[in-house]
Symmetry: C2
Subunit: 407 residues, 2 copies
């Protein structure tokens, strides 16, 4: 007998027919003899509707109150699933975040879970109940409702799995699992059967939107294996877990891309100590998150170039700062590019194998794709390229590293 | 400086424009120097929508979970009002039932408030906040969400007013106050400026749907005056309070009617002790609420007639029981009538004045309206008549007792 936490996303509970499907799936698991705790998102579209309502009420609605509004989405779907389970002859009970003491900090709209009290859940499981939990929500120290941000129900599920020491956390979604790259732009992609927490983190932070990043961080910390799978059929999906020997055999696990970036370069800054520090000061004061940052010597001696990437949303703000900094630092030019993309290769195998970077650069060069910036980590290499080459780059890399089916 | 609890019903918060109107009204009160606690219902139609969703999920949805779904209606409207108040420059904070410890019994869907913890509200008021409370909801001893039934937000408001020892509980609604009779069927009706709790209870239980009955009971117990008034203009409405000398001058305060009743008569039962007891046993076993019940001797000696009224919804069940009882008690006939109405006169003045009953019967007789049943209390007389005469009866009585304007 296992203890399983199952999380169903918004598309899986989009209407009552789908909620009934979810209920059948939960009951099947229960009938296999396992204990089941279910975490649900709001019905698809509901969070957007509620957020729009809050924003219609005031252009900058109070953060605390927005969370009170948003939390109702999961409240309704969790109770409806519980109603359906009960009507199918299963004892079930829904809980809101505060009712099982999902404690968070007070960062409304993006709160972090600090603890979960498992006692009430255990007591219900012992009585044979199916426990249904409203995802995405918690309570701060003073009893205010908080929400965890987009994809927050993933984190709820993992946090509960960690608190219960569950055998596995199954994340049911509208995709089959994690793929070697985006199937929408590349043929012959392969589902990855096992992937390490670290690889998943790199992939998630670079645009693979299968799991909320924080849920992976939390799973890694607690050692909870995650099974990402489709709620529409029974096929196995992708297991996210500790790195194991099987994974190390693969040089590269996947190719990801992110077209939401922009690039700014402050060119020919008279080179002296403290340039980078001054730059970070200005940019963090404006609350802008910089992704890549590279400082290079200019061809002309005594000058440096400072290039960085930010999300497209922050581009206007960042450009303004760059111009003001250029003036202050007596730089000669500011180069701005919005049409760039980041293409990345991820894999724990890189740690023990050299040659991944050069193979990547050769593959891009073969297609005549110019690399504008490079950044690397232990298990990842990213390149900034012209956005128009995104699909071509992803396909070439996917092929160059033999990631496809039958490889 | 006063402490005022204001309750706004569903039509008063039906959309964002109306919520803004409510916010302005609340702010006006606050700017007069009063402390304000606001209780809101769900936006008009929302409770019906949520209930339909629960019933679509299962024909007989689990009571506990239905309350979890329904409670979201007030959660949204309370947070939206708080957002609007904050955006207008007022410090405001919304609270759900459990957050201010509105404790109830566990009768899901019709829970009764057992206590309210005023500490958190007082502490916010001291800091100059406007406190907004989601009506209609509470929490039982084990932390389950409960709801208070249709009109439950009235009761929330009165319970909070009682706990805070507020100066007044203002119930804002879509009518101007309590009238001498239903303005929809009678011309020249008059708004009652003051009415006693007892009269209001009698009127509420007989179809005047201005206030939830329990809110009046609670207000009476706690001695909280209620001011029923319109949210669409500034006119004074009706004060519901302790009986005072002014009220006693009026013989009759109002005329009410109820067309939701049906009448069943078991005719010519061989008369012997225990008939009524047997009848009550059978009817209460079926969970049917009987309104009037009258046992009379039949014209033929040795026989009795047993007549009772129930709500139309219970009519089929009651009729079945009547037939089975008739057989058991060897009665000779069962007479069933669905097309009946109850017309009532209410007034504390009846206590000290005789002649109200005979005046009422004369007025009905003058119009040729036959009285099928009569029941009386200290401050009320009700007659069952043919439903088709309802409007005629109400108008005649309203005129006979000079209740109209300019009287």
């Amino acid at each position: 007998m296992s203890l399983i936490v199952q999380k169903y996303g918004g598309t899986s509970v989009a209407d009552l027919d789908r909620i009934r499907n979810v209920a059948r799936r939960v009951i099947n698991t229960k009938e296999r003899g396992d204990d089941v705790v279910v975490v649900v998102s709001a019905m698809a579209g509901e969070t957007d509707r509620l957020l729009a309502l809050a924003k219609e009420s005031a252009p900058e609605p109070d953060d605390r109150e927005v969370d009170v509004v948003l939390a109702t989405g999961e409240q309704v779907s969790s109770a409806l699933l519980s109603i359906v389970l009960t009507s199918m002859g299963c004892k079930a009970k829904s809980y809101l975040g505060y009712q099982i003491k999902i404690s968070t900090d007070r960062a409304y709209g993006k709160a972090r879970i600090t603890s979960v009290d498992a006692d009430r859940i255990f007591s219900d499981l012992r009585e044979g109940l199916i426990v249904v939990v409203a995802g995405f929500q918690g309570e701060d120290e003073e009893g205010n409702i908080t929400t965890l941000g987009r994809g927050g129900s993933d984190t709820t599920a993992v946090a509960i799995a960690a608190a219960l020491k569950a055998d596995i956390c199954e994340i049911f979604t509208d995709v089959d699992g994690v793929y070697t790259t985006d199937p929408n732009i590349c043929d012959g992609v392969k589902k990855i059967s096992r992937i390490s927490y670290d690889e998943m983190l790199e992939m998630a932070s670079m645009g693979a939107k299968v799991l909320q990043i924080r849920s992976v961080e939390l799973a890694k910390k607690a050692g909870v294996p995650i099974h990402v799978r489709s709620s529409f059929h029974e096929n196995e999906g992708t297991i996210v877990c500790e790195e194991d020997t099987e994974m190390e055999k693969a040089l590269v696990s996947g190719v990801t891309y992110d077209i939401g970036q922009a690039r700014v370069e402050i060119a020919k800054v008279p080179d002296r100590p403290g340039i980078a520090a001054r730059f970070f000061e200005a940019i963090s004061a404006a609350n802008i998150v910089v992704d890549m940052i590279i400082q290079t010597s200019s061809l002309e001696e005594g000058y440096a170039n400072m290039a960085f990437t930010i999300s497209k949303a922050d581009f206007p703000k960042a450009l303004k700062i760059a111009h003001s900094l250029a003036k202050e630092l007596e730089a000669q030019d500011v180069i701005a590019e919005q049409e760039v993309a980041k293409v990345s290769m991820v894999g724990v195998g890189m740690r023990s194998h050299s040659g991944v970077a050069s193979k990547m650069f050769r593959a891009l060069a073969r297609e005549g794709i110019n690399i504008k910036m490079i950044s690397t980590s232990e298990i990842k290499i990213s390149c900034i390229i012209d956005a128009k080459y995104t699909e071509l780059a992803v396909r070439s890399l996917h092929e160059a590293f033999d990631l496809g089916k039958g490889s």
